[in-house]
Symmetry: C2
Subunit: 403 residues, 2 copies
């Protein structure tokens, strides 16, 4: 008998039929003898609906009340899934909001981080044979305020709960069959990956493969919690995200996947005085406003001035512009939006020089101009015109023989 | 400087424009020098949408998880109203859910009763100049479960908060101009009442005048909290609901209003053994299932058997039928649905014999058959065919000279 945390995303609870399906999947696992905990996102479209309403009343709704608003979406889904469970087998489910099962976070609204889960309530329910249905995406700070964990935060909720309860695996149910070598909608030859390391998954997730929130993978890696990404529409195996050590021979593949991320915005700061603390001041202010900066590139200074470029997600553009306005002086700020970041990911990459060169060549041959480049040990990313995103993904997928 | 609790119903927060209007009304009162607390319902249609979803996954969704589900509607409205307030004057609003401001209730889900409000958090916010925006309709029981107060429960939330904070008045904003002598959609001659006593308002509310939840009036009467029922679309005076003592000469009117309540169901139990404890058993079981029984009529027993009739709201029909099925024995149960209850209400009524006779005569002349009659000191109600409801209201309104 083992404990399994099953997380269902928005599409998996997107209709009455799907909610009933979630209840059936949970009870089926319980009948097999497993103990089951369910974590749910808001019904598909609900969070977007709430965000749309919020923006209509307040164009920059980044605050405590915004989190309180958004958290209502998961709450409704929890109620419905638990009610569905109780029809199949009376009172086998019980819904819980973040604060009710002691999911404590810091107070960074909209991007809160979990620091503790009080498992007392959950353990009591599980021991009784109840299937707890928990709202993902939300928690509570020390002052009783509702916080949310950022888009896709339900994955992180599920992994954190799995770790806190010592679950055997955290199953992430989604509307795709698993993790693919690229987005199948963009790249018809994309293949499902059966096993992938936390590190590669982090790069893929961070680069816009929307299957898992990157923080959930970081967390799973830290505590070695296996994640099973699988379809909620059939019982076939999906993709196991596990420690590199467990993968063995599978590491031989150099490039394991292509990811892309649209709606990127590039800020270029020109005439920045070249003195110590300048960059720290700028990025410190952005961090304080909880804006994730992605690629950063700095030129060699000329006559005591330098240029600094960086990218942020399109959703943070307004906020970032407000922060930067305060810099003042002679600094000139240029924004370029509608950009895309395409990336190749693979654990073996660092030992294979020439992978980067091949990537640049493939893009060049396809007439795709590169605006910024950034690399890590297991990935190479290029910022390009957003309109060419799909083309670039297909070119790279074919070029690296992933089909 | 006085403290005012302003409650906005679903229609008053039913769109972005109306939410912005709520924020403006609250700030306007604050600018005049008053301290303001806002209580909101879910956006119009939202509770019905959630109820519809719940019924699709679970036909009898009366439980803890149902309340958790429904409470999400008010939560979204709270977030939006507070966000709207913060656009007009940054950070003047702050949203709160029932549990966050210590609204404690019993554990009777869907019909919970408030027993305590912990005003500490609210008083601190008000002292800072913040306008707290509180979710109506919801609370928390002693075990941290979310409870709801029943349809229209936001009125009760608002009155309870007004009492706990020692407010000067509880303003109930709605989509009508106040309390009318009858439903203006049914009866074009209906007039707005400027002042009405708690007692009359309770009868009107209990009889289906949907302006106020009856429990909110009971509560206001107990603590002498004035209620001002007014329109959220203009600044004109509405109806003041106050103590009978304050009304003085206004009591001279005999019949002050006509109310009606549709979707009533009549249960008739035949062959009930005439022995002590029988009625107590039946109505005890119904009460335990939290079903409100309205009119009760019992025949004179014949040969040790009696007939018992009573009415419940159409929404409780299924539940009531389930409870009654357990009686067993030779008892025969007959259900009659689609009935309406029309009532005349007035404080002076008890001192004017002949009012009842006049009511029955007016209905008879209009060919409306009376199925059950019930009376109190200040109201007389008749159960009739639901199809004749509007006709009956008009006949009585005219007959008692209320136009």
């Amino acid at each position: 008998m083992s404990l399994i945390v099953k997380k269902f995303g928005g599409t998996s609870v997107g209709s009455i039929e799907r909610i009933q399906n979630v209840a059936r999947l949970a009870l089926k696992a319980q009948k097999k003898g497993d103990k089951v905990v369910v974590v749910v996102s808001a019904m598909a479209g609900e969070t977007n609906r709430l965000v749309g309403l919020a923006k209509k009343v307040n164009p920059i709704p980044d605050s405590r009340d915004y989190d309180l608003l958004l958290a209502s979406g998961e709450q409704a889904a929890v109620g419905l899934v638990s009610l569905a469970l109780n029809t199949l087998k009376p009172f086998s489910g019980r819904g819980f909001l973040g604060y009710q099962v002691g999911i404590y976070t810091d107070s960074v609204y909209s991007k809160a981080r979990i620091y503790k889960i009080n498992t007392q309530v959950l353990k009591k329910e599980i021991a009784k044979g109840v299937i707890p249905v928990i709202a993902g995406f939300q928690g509570m700070d020390l002052e009783n305020n509702i916080t949310t964990l950022g888009r896709g935060g339900s994955d992180t909720s599920a992994v954190a709960i799995a770790i806190a309860l010592g679950a055997q695996v955290c199953e992430i149910y989604t509307d795709v069959d698993g993790v693919f070598t690229s987005d199948p909608r963009v790249c018809p030859e994309a293949r499902k990956i059966s096993h992938i390391s936390y590190e590669e998954m982090m790069e893929l997730a961070g680069l816009g493969a929307k299957v898992l929130q990157i923080r959930s993978v970081e967390l799973a890696a830290k505590f070695n919690m296996p994640i099973h990404v699988r379809s909620s529409f059939h019982t076939g195996e999906g993709t196991m995200v596990v420690s590199k050590k467990l993968l063995g021979g599978l590491e031989k593949v150099v490039v394991s996947g292509i990811a892309s991320d649209s709606a990127q915005v590039k800020f270029s700061l020109q005439n920045v005085p070249d003195r110590p603390g300048m960059a720290a001041g700028i990025f410190g202010a952005l961090a304080k406003a909880a804006i994730d900066v992605d690629i950063i590139v700095q030129d060699i200074p000329t006559a005591g001035k330098l240029s600094l470029s960086f990218t942020v997600s399109g959703t943070d553009q307004l906020k970032a512009a407000r922060v930067l306005k305060k810099i003042g002086g002679a600094v000139r700020i240029v924004q370029e939006k509608d950009l895309a970041k395409v990336s190749i990911v693979g654990v073996g990459m660092q030992h294979h020089p020439g992978v980067a060169a091949k990537m640049f060549e493939l893009l060049a041959r396809a007439q795709i101009n590169i605006k910024l480049i950034t690399t890590s040990e297991i990935k190479i990313s290029c910022l390009i015109d957003g309109a060419l995103e799909k083309k670039a993904v297909r070119v790279l997928h074919r070029g690296f023989g992933l089909g």
